[in-house]
Amino acid sequence: MQTLQLDNINKSFGNLDAVKDLSLSVSPGTIYGFLGPNGAGKTTTIRMIMEIILPDSGQILIKGTPNTSREMLDRVGYLPEERGVYRKMKVREALEFFAELKGLKKSAHKKKIDAWVERFGMADVQMKKMEELSKGNQQKIQILTTVIHEPDLIILDEPFMGLDPVNAELVKEVILEQKQRGTAIVFSTHLMESAEKLCDAICLINKGRKVLDGEIKTVKRGFGRNNVILAYDGKADFLKNNGVIESFNDSGNYVEIKLRPGAKPQALLAAAMQHAEISRFEVVEPSLHEIFLATVKEN
């Protein structure tokens, strides 16, 4: 059974179609990247999954049960994009509060909180007020409250935004660890690099519509192995008016090139060698970034 399934979700705000006919599914134990430019409808979709806002039509199932069931939503851990803490509350009290909001009984959450606090190295700040904590530690608490009830589905909205490198690493660690447990993880981001490294599958949306989805391998294969990474030193004249190049993304001495269908990479290499010194030449699958840009432009 799929951990999360969206069937033909629609949501509009006035004249704006925020989400249009969106369907997707996430299997247990997978990391699912929910990608798209700002304003694509990612947060709206996530809020509909959490039943914070209601879809105009369509159905959302968590482990096969509609998300209107509160028991199902208690099995979800959610880290919103807009996140904060109760500044005046003590750390321990806040953790207990959120654990109870997720349906954990007082008798059940003590051990869990103890274990998590230990694991995050925050045992000695438990009795402090939130506002006395450093920004980094407050972020840790937010991550902790997302996973404290060991959910079956974790939804992270732009989890790496504003995180310091230590906490970004911690989030990655937690994501991978939860994946091992069989938890499905959905995270939205517009940072393609982190998505590319972590995700098993992705869904790319733009202007509220799904433009691409599937396992990351399949997605890349669909774009063909006709991309070339080329590191060079010298003039980049060969990039212009070259019959074999369909598009390129030049970073000065590193360029990612998409070839025309049927074009031979060697022809490009020959042209490049005449103008510049080549230190790397590799035929690769397109990067997610490339796919993202290409698809968004196309739409």
């Binding site: 809020r47 959490m50 039943e51 914070i52 806002i53 509160r70 939503l73 208690d74 979800v76 959610y78 880290l79 919103p80 807009e82 996140r83 904060g84 803490v85 109760y86 500044r87 005046k88 509350m89 009290e93 509060f97 959120f98 109870e100 909001l101 997720k102 349906g103 937010q142 409250t145």
Partner: protein
């Protein structure tokens, strides 16, 4: 239900333990007690020294009457006034006044009275004093002088002093309140005091705790913690938990105050006797409040609080900061101030048509209907109708505000316009 209780507990306990709550809870009864005891205390302190007043009696006959009639004494049996006769001769009136004014200035005298020979005709006497704003004292002097003058006028017409005494005897108007069942109770302004105190408490419950609800919501919005919370329970559960939790806090505070006041009225006099034996001789009891009025107090406290807390919750959901909230809060405050302003009218005319109409407007009911109940029990149907309208308004408000809340708490940045809010209510 569990989550509602979790929110309720957080709102209640996190505030119960704050310094602000503890200080406010302890300080308020102290202040109130102080306000009640202080006037009495001041009276004793003040009356330790009788007022020194000089009298210039140009009629030559008023002096005796004045000193006899103004033999006022305080509860401890001390004189309030000490009179000295001042002769105008040989220097004349102006010189006498001048020297007396100097004495007043030096603090040897508190004041002086000039009774001119023409007083029988024009009825004018003069009082010069360091302070002439004590209206009770001025009134007392006026009535004694005027009585003395009246007596002399009648005496001139040939009656003897016994007859005069009978003629000018003062009438004392004592007031009784007709309570339920036609029983009469002596009432010297106690009802008024009870109305003002209890109405002020309801007024506070609606405004103060309503604002606490609003701030609590604004705080969750501005700290951005709201979305994590709202994803774990229904917005309505959150709003309800908040309102009930903070209401319970208010109830706790009021119960503590009621307990302190109750103990004071039971043991206060005994305690006072220990610390200030003189004072305890007098009887300043706390006005007694009938049990059914306490029941109505609780009912109007709860309903009034629910109505206003719900509206404050809507304001909290619509705005981003306390400053932004101010202009939304203003109409709410007016809804409480207007009936409060009518209270003295209601005390005077509890059964008037105006009072009936005002008491049936749901936003005014907690204050005006309650004031009417204390002063003069209105017909049962009016109370029932008032309560019904209030409950119906609260239910309607909760429905509307629940929708505003659901959308509003996730809106950051721009403050919504009225059409936008109407859209929220429609589409939530």
């Amino acid at each position: 239900m569990d989550k509602f209780l979790t929110v309720l507990r957080r709102e209640y306990l996190s505030r119960l333990k704050t310094k602000g709550f503890i200080i406010g809870t302890i300080l308020t009864p102290l202040l109130l007690t102080g306000m009640m005891v202080l006037p009495g205390l001041l009276m004793f302190l003040k009356s330790d020294k009788p007022k020194q007043i000089a009298v210039i009696d140009q009629t030559g006959v008023m002096w005796d009457s004045l000193t006899v009639n103004l033999d006022d004494r305080n509860e401890a049996g001390r004189r309030l006034y000490n009179f000295t006769k001042h002769e105008t001769l040989p220097a004349g009136l102006d010189a006498a006044k001048k020297s007396l004014a100097e004495s007043v200035d030096h603090g040897e005298l508190d004041g002086y009275i000039v009774i001119p020979a023409s007083i029988y005709e024009d009825g004018n006497a003069e009082y010069y004093g360091k302070s002439v704003t004590n209206f009770r004292e001025n009134g007392r002097l006026r009535s004694v002088i005027s009585r003395a003058v009246t007596e002399k006028r009648i005496q001139r017409s040939g009656l003897n002093s016994e007859q005069i005494h009978q003629l000018v005897r003062r009438v004392d108007l004592r007031t009784f309140r007709v309570a339920e069942g036609g029983q009469e109770q002596a009432d010297e302004g106690h009802t008024q005091i009870v109305v003002w105190i209890l109405v002020a408490f309801i007024y506070m419950a609606m405004l103060v705790y309503g604002q606490v609800v609003m701030r609590s919501i604004i705080e969750e919005k501005s700290s951005r913690v709201i979305e994590s919370v709202i994803s774990s329970l229904k917005p309505f559960q959150l709003m309800a938990g908040k309102i009930v939790g903070i209401g319970a806090l208010g109830f706790t505070q009021y119960s503590i105050w009621a307990l302190v006041m109750g103990l004071l009225s039971l043991y206060g006099i005994k305690i006072a006797r220990v610390f200030a034996p003189k004072m305890a001789a007098s009887n300043f009891n706390l006005p007694a409040v009938a049990p059914e009025i306490l029941v109505f107090f609780v009912v109007f406290f709860v309903l009034g609080y629910l109505l206003f807390a719900t509206m404050y919750a809507a304001v909290g959901a619509m705005v981003n900061s306390d400053q932004e909230a101010q202009q939304f809060v203003f109409p709410l405050i007016m809804l409480v101030i207007v009936p409060f302003l009518f209270t003295s009218y209601i005390i005077g005319n509890p059964g008037s048509q105006m009072a009936v109409i005002l008491s049936l407007i749901p936003f005014f009911t907690p204050i005006i209907m309650f004031a009417r109940i204390i002063v003069q029990m209105p017909p049962v149907w009016q109370i029932a109708l008032g309560l019904f309208l209030m409950v119906a308004t609260i239910v309607g408000m909760i429905w509307v505000v629940g929708r505003i809340y659901r959308i509003g708490v996730l809106m950051y940045g721009k403050r919504p316009t009225l059409p936008e809010i109407i859209k929220w209510i429609k589409y939530a």
